[in-house]
Amino acid sequence: MLARSCVRPMRAFASARNGAVQITKRAASSSSGSSAESPLRLNIAAAAATAVAAGSVGWYYHLYGNSHAMTPAEEGLHPTKYPWVHEQWLKTFDHQALRRGFQVYREVCSSCHSLSRVPYRSLVGSILTVDEAKALAEENEYDAEPNDQGEIEKRPGKLADYLPSPYPNDEAARFANNGALPPDLSLMVKARHGGCDYIFSLLTGYPDEPPAGAQVGAGLYFNPYFPGTGIAMARVLYNGLVEYEDETPATTSQMAKDVTEFLHWAAEPEMDDRKRMGMKVLVITSVLFAMSVWVKRYKWAWLKSRKIVYDPPKEGQTKIRD
């Protein structure tokens, strides 16, 4: 049964091959007769194809003009690599910098950008003390459980609450910001190519004036790092905008560095633990691997070190079988 089903396609294959041979034969025999027509047809087809191609290119330019597609401005300037200390393998977040960065976020960024995935409890121990976090949470009001009449009252915030958003929803945010939506910053370092470098460059990269000839749309500001170079956020960080409690000079780049590191923490609060766990995994697996190699060599030693010798019979000593 199996043999027959295998043979059948083979037969079909053979017949097809025969057919192909016949077709080539026919083509060879008929080419001598119609050889005078085919170059003309080919020329017509080539001319038509060229005309269609040239016409479509011309039509495109007629419609869209000398369009600037795939320009560097459209892509945006790629951020420079900065030597972030906390991104090294054996380094952790600088928690003093996180504290400064949180201050910058709270005093500057939080008027437009939400940080909706970060609860107050996660700030405890890494940025604020328990009392500071509790006091901060109590500054804001949150919806409480429904009371006896089913009405939802307001209560002061607790550690389990999340940081408040500046706007109730995206539409309100767009309306307040001239149609542009300030994105949530909780995962921003992970959400953008370049991560920390991009955010730092974006915050500090506003030039004093756009380069000559650059088109900046209405209500937009020129920033080379933003794709399209027109960003709805104006430059916000200026020297001395924030007064740090540890008396670090609050220059623009210092504030941008601190807030970027803080945003990296917000996006990846497990980074320190992750790095420590990674080191543990590397150390333990390398030791286990070395041990397993040793055990294998130990167990195989008798097999690897044996010697097989063929001792050919000498000529004079041939034995005659009985």
């Binding site: 320009t71 560097p72 401005a73 300037l77 790629h78 420079t80 690599k81 900065y82 030597p83 972030w84 200390v85 600088d94 003093q96 910098a97 460059s201 500090t204 990269g205 030039p207 380069p211 000559a212 000839g213 650059a214 088109q215 080379p224 170079t229 020297n239 001395g240 670090t248 000079p249 609050a250 220059t251 623009t252 780049s253 210092q254 560095k257």
Partner: protein
């Protein structure tokens, strides 16, 4: 702060010849200025004996100038190191080609803009090259300064 910094800090703190100062710098400059002012005051005193009202006015003016200088010093403390380093890098030999192209483009485009019809190009690409060069050159210097 690496591991080695901790050790060097400990060693420096333990050595008998080290001097522990909480906020050492920025003291000398103010001392110098006060010394200068005392010298100036002593210099102005004999003049004051000759022409008293005029000398008083001069002294007041000098005091105002000194105050202005002090304010300027405070402002200078808050100069963004990023701008300083990038300005240096922009004018360095490393970024000379990019700067040359950018300056040339700005000249060409502004000349075209002043004429009728305006410019049909912009200097964004040249600007990108210049900024990329300047930031890449300034990045390690900047992060060694920032906290």
């Amino acid at each position: 702060m690496g591991f080695w910094d901790t050790i060097t800090d400990l060693v420096e703190a333990a050595t008998p010849w080290s001097v522990a100062e909480a906020e050492a710098p920025a003291q000398e400059t103010t001392e110098e200025t006060t010394a200068e002012t005392t010298q100036e005051e002593t210099e102005t005193k004999p003049e004051a004996a000759a022409e008293e009202p005029a000398a008083e006015e001069e002294a007041k003016e000098e005091e105002e100038e000194e105050e202005e200088e002090e304010e300027e010093e405070e402002e200078e403390e808050l100069q963004d190191p990023k701008e300083v380093f990038e300005e240096e890098c922009r004018n360095s030999k490393e970024c000379a080609p990019a700067k040359h192209h950018y300056d040339e483009c700005v000249e060409r485009v502004t000349a075209a803009q002043s004429q009728e019809g305006g410019a049909n190009e912009d200097c964004v690409e040249e600007f990108f090259h210049l900024v990329h060069c300047a930031t890449a050159c300034a990045a390690p210097k900047l992060f060694s300064v920032l906290k």
